[in-house]
């Protein structure tokens, strides 16, 4: 009986720890998915920004569990893995988090179209910012087309990502 109570308590503690790590873990998974080589022509250039989706989702629903430091570290990891100048993704995601955090109350407990509209504006802004940043870094006017494709792909895949993240969140984080 006592043993049962102890195991239950331990299990709950483990569950809680898992739930608290969920935002960081899912964002890291998003990093890995977004650098996967897919056998689709031209995919690498327009690979959707899955990491941005995860950062957006968790900043709205559990901002405390995805603090700026972890956003920064995840961003730097992605930069180092993809060969982009380190700091670029970190900067974009930090800024995205800060902006979403400020506007958070417009999205929490709102129907999905609101959340999606918010993400559309965020990813549009993020892609534009990235493009401008690379133009500055490379001192060249970079072709804008793949940026547009990437933004469109990212925005259209957001509902699926949001659904998956929401499901995981609900199943692992029963209590708010």
């Amino acid at each position: 009986m006592v043993l049962k109570a102890v195991t239950a308590a331990t299990r709950q503690r483990v569950d809680n720890a898992a739930a608290r790590l969920l935002p960081i873990v899912t964002t890291l998974i998003a990093v890995i998915i977004s650098i996967q080589p897919a056998p689709i022509p031209g995919y690498a250039a327009v690979a959707p920004a899955f990491t941005l989706m995860a950062v957006y989702h968790w900043t709205i629903y559990r901002p405390r569990l995805l603090p700026p430091l972890s956003v920064f570290l995840i961003g730097v990891t992605q930069d180092l893995l993809t060969g982009t100048p380190p700091g670029v993704n970190a900067l974009v995601m930090l800024l995205a988090r800060a902006i979403v955090l400020r506007l958070r109350r417009h999205f929490v407990d709102r129907p999905f179209p609101f959340v999606w509209t918010g993400f559309t504006m965020l990813s549009g802004g993020a892609m534009l910012f990235l493009w401008a940043l690379y133009c500055l870094l490379d001192r060249a006017l970079i072709d804008f087309r793949s940026t547009i494709f990437r933004a469109v792909l990212t925005i259209s895949l957001f509902p699926a990502a949001s659904f998956l993240l929401g499901r995981t969140q609900r199943s692992l984080m029963s209590t708010g």
Partner: protein, 298 residues
């Protein structure tokens, strides 16, 4: 764990955000200035992550293989007919090639030509792409432990993919010919025009430093010239796809974004590249370094 009061936590968060933003910006600027430090950092992360990425990329590639198989199943009869016909034609070519090869070796013998060093191959799996429009490179799961070295050519059966730009013990990064930083000395086959194949992050790199009077036609084959000593001469690169004014665009033979396996080729030329990336004052554009690692003419 120390429990912070909510007030202290908020004030701490207020400081961390600008600090981290500042750190990001500093890293971007530092990374642009000091390539050597950046490279070793990137290699360390790649070495650590490559085994994990290799395992994680397996299901996706298995799925892709399955799709390819299903597609092939549909066209198996037509393919068979086509291949049988092609085989017949190729046997003719084989006879011709064997005859030419023996003739060639006899002539070389007569001229006392020093034989070219034999190339050694190594097949490596692509475990990560660059995910984005601004860098064109892939990470492969093979490193110095397997004999990969900076400057080696990465090819597939179809042609040139790029060159090894960074090497760790287990992983390496291959800079694709489409990257903004890629410069490959090439020859336009037929006219023997020399040029530099320069990437600009689009799907089709373009030819630079072509003679103004050069007669280039769409469909001309582009192969490496071997100048600069990084690539051996004669590696197929692509075909001229559009003339685009003075800068013809080249469609690479290899579908670069779909490459799942690469062959890293050691032609014994790897020493042609200077070992660490030289720190050059960034006077010009980021893309001004030529394939042999030297500052190119403007």
């Amino acid at each position: 764990m120390i429990r912070l009061s909510s007030l202290r936590r908020t004030s701490l968060q207020r400081v961390t955000f600008p600090l981290l933003v500042l750190l990001s910006v500093t890293m971007i600027l530092l990374g642009k200035a000091d390539q050597v430090m950046l490279e070793s950092l990137r290699i360390a992360v790649a070495d650590a992550a490559a085994p994990v990425l290799e395992i994680l990329s397996r299901p996706l590639s298995a799925l892709a293989d399955l799709a390819t198989r299903a597609r092939r199943l549909v066209s198996v009869y037509q393919d068979n007919d086509r291949l049988a016909e092609e085989n017949e034609r190729l046997i003719g070519w084989q006879h011709a090639a064997l005859k030419l090869a023996s003739e060639n070796s006899q002539l070389r013998e007569l001229l006392k030509l020093t034989p070219e060093p034999a190339a050694t191959y190594l097949t490596a799996r692509v475990v990560a792409n660059s995910g984005g429009a601004y860098v064109r490179s892939v990470m492969v799961y093979a490193g110095s432990e397997n004999g990969v070295a900076r400057g080696q050519a990465a090819v597939t059966g179809d042609g040139l993919v790029g060159r090894v730009s960074e090497v760790g013990s287990r992983a390496a990064r291959v800079l694709l010919v489409t990257d903004l930083n890629s410069r490959v000395p090439v020859i336009v086959e037929g006219s023997q025009q020399r040029a530099l194949l320069a990437g600009d992050n689009s799907e089709r790199p373009y030819l630079r430093y072509l003679d103004t009077g050069a007669a280039i036609r769409i469909g001309d084959r582009i192969v490496t010239s071997g100048q600069g000593g990084v690539f051996p001469p004669g590696l197929p690169v692509g075909v001229v796809a559009s003339l685009d004014g003075g800068a013809p665009r080249v469609e690479p033979y290899v579908e670069l974004s779909r490459v799942g396996y690469l062959r890293i080729v050691d032609y014994g030329l790897a020493d042609a590249l200077p070992k660490p990336v030289p720190i050059v004052p960034r006077g010009g554009r980021r893309g001004e370094r030529s394939a042999d690692g030297q500052q190119s003419r403007r």
